[in-house]
Symmetry: C2
């Protein structure tokens, strides 16, 4: 885990920042291993502290041995007081903070507490940028999470029956995830049947899966802080021609987009491949979300494979990034189709990590 702190320090040096206060729980866990629900990291060029309260003192010592435990917050000492004390001890008169993860209210209290002694400087995406490229340990965990997810998809889909409700189907998937070793689902599992599948993020309810209609299943295993994400669209019984036309369009869009994934290609270019194909098929207005997203400790993280705003740009893909590729077509009143796999960018293209079978016409 020390190499992550080293990379962060290099990033700090590059932007001439003497230290960073890490507020985002996921960034904290990534850098230190400390998983509690409350805590901050203060990382300077030479020191690294976990700041937390008494509930998590013992846990911090166990989980984050590379961080100084003596500096952990005591009841009654507020975060600003502790941060000020540490900055003064180590001669910092400037401190960066995570503007994307610090509320205006917390920032106001910190700024008031630090007063003129320490200037707070907003940063965005410093740790997220490190997290985009997965290290070996991360890829290994992701592979485990994805393998569990694939196995569950393949095991549970054949158990689905038209008379199941969406909610019952969700529970089948969730139980299977747990039995297969997941700590839980990466996100609330989506099972969307018939016209409900027109909502990309439908909340499963009491509607039946039914026969002959489109069913979108979107789920993933959460394990050791990492997430998998897999979508399959299935039909119980016989799909009709309209289904196949739409399904095959989405499938082709997905396959072509995956074929485009390699180092140097920009994120929005992968999106454009899928989007242009879907638009050419007459469904340009039926694909409202991006083609994919990076995934790791957050379900959705950089890079984001989507269109750019006018004048905007997007980052080039790099070896070691893991992203979803998941185009879809959603038609109100009819339903929807989405197909999603996870890919790992390699030096000469990408490896498709997801292995679950999919429908083929």
């Amino acid at each position: 885990m020390e190499h992550r702190t080293r990379r962060l320090r290099a990033a700090l040096a590059e932007t001439d920042l003497p230290g960073l206060l890490v507020g985002a729980p996921v960034n904290r866990r990534y850098l230190s291993g400390f998983t509690a629900s409350y805590g901050w990291l203060l990382i300077t060029r030479t020191n690294a502290f976990v700041l937390t309260d008494s509930r998590y003192l013992i846990q911090a010592g166990r989980e984050a041995p590379g961080f100084a435990a003596r500096q952990i917050i005591n009841p009654g000492k507020t975060l600003p007081e502790l941060v000020l004390e540490l900055c003064q001890e180590f001669g910092l008169d400037r401190l960066a903070f995570e503007a994307g993860h610090t509320t205006v209210a917390d920032h106001g209290r910190l700024a008031a507490g630090l007063g003129d002694a320490v200037a707070l400087e907003p940063t965005e995406g410093l740790v997220e940028e490190l997290r985009m490229v997965k290290d070996e340990a991360e890829i290994a965990v992701m592979r485990r999470a994805i393998a569990i997810t694939d196995g569950v998809m393949e095991a549970v889909v054949p158990q689905l029956r038209p008379e199941h409700t969406e909610r019952q189907a969700v529970w089948l998937f969730e139980q299977a995830l747990r039995k297969a070793g997941a700590e839980g689902p990466s996100f609330p599992i989506i099972v969307a049947a018939g016209s409900n599948a027109a909502l990309p993020h439908h909340r499963p309810g009491d509607d039946l899966l039914g026969e002959g209609q489109t069913i979108i299943i979107d789920m993933g295993a959460h394990i050791d802080g990492y997430n998998a994400d897999l979508t399959r669209t299935v039909v119980l019984g016989q799909p009709d021609e309209r289904f196949w036309a739409i399904y095959n369009t989405v499938l082709e869009a997905e396959q072509r987009a995956i074929a485009e994934v390699r180092p140097g290609v920009r994120a929005h270019e992968v999106d454009a491949i899928a989007r242009d194909l879907i638009t050419a098929a007459g469904h340009g207005n039926h694909f409202g979300h991006g083609t994919g997203h990076g995934i790791g400790m957050n379900l959705h993280e950089a890079p984001f494979l989507r269109w750019t705003t006018p004048g905007g740009t997007s980052i080039p893909l790099e070896t070691g990034m893991i992203s979803s590729v998941e185009p879809g077509i959603y038609i109100e009143g009819w339903g929807g189709v989405r197909i999603e796999d996870l890919v790992l960018v390699t030096d000469d293209g990408c490896v498709i990590l997801s292995q679950a079978v999919k429908l083929s016409g």
Copy 2:
């Protein structure tokens, strides 16, 4: 649901604010019923809008019929652009935002987008204050969540065996919650056995429940956006005398604190009842967390029954508040005891909502 918007408007009028941008998902759901993972509310003295993107358009119309759907964000139009447009349409040159739920980065983008046309004014706790006192519909949902939780605790504890791991026990509770009608657990279920119980928020692992040692079980049902929270401490086999001494101290602290709950008593005074008793028993340093917390759409919400910082104050309890009362004693190397029930403040005291049996010496 309209009475909630009315109460918010009264609060806005009281503080002379023309409108509020609601960013916190829970506050959004409370006011509008809109549950999607992305969205904002803009509520003025006369109008109410849901702002979201294309993924959730249909859902917003279904879930938040009292809010204008025509104002929903389109792909490509950023939040600041849409907010500016609405403010100009309705003549607002000031707009409050939730400083406790808006990041410094989002605020910066909003402020830049609104420019000189609309001044952003930070507020904290406006909606949270409304949410502290539960309405009839909320109390009914909380009672359902608590009844499910009680039933699961009573059904699963007798199934626990010394050779179960903590993780297996968690899974028994989780399955039972789902089968009893919960959407899921309110939070990651805690089962902490033996010395692990010294960590108030232990993450369950592969340690065995074992015989004769303390086991803390902390769990609750999540249903329709609301949370229950229940802790019982049990022992498989025969507890020893040290256990009983500690257990009875915690139990007495809990019962006495509950007896103190009534309108007008301040939150920290309830904490002091439990804390003084535990301190008198020689465990003042073994009770690091507050005695209780409000609960509802958030697992932890105001009022917080804990000590105040020097010179600080705490709010008086009111009829309709629901809070946990959950003192504990935690001893490194030995384990811990926590007992938690939920109470509803009534005009002349409180009603104990949790009904699950507890150990009695």
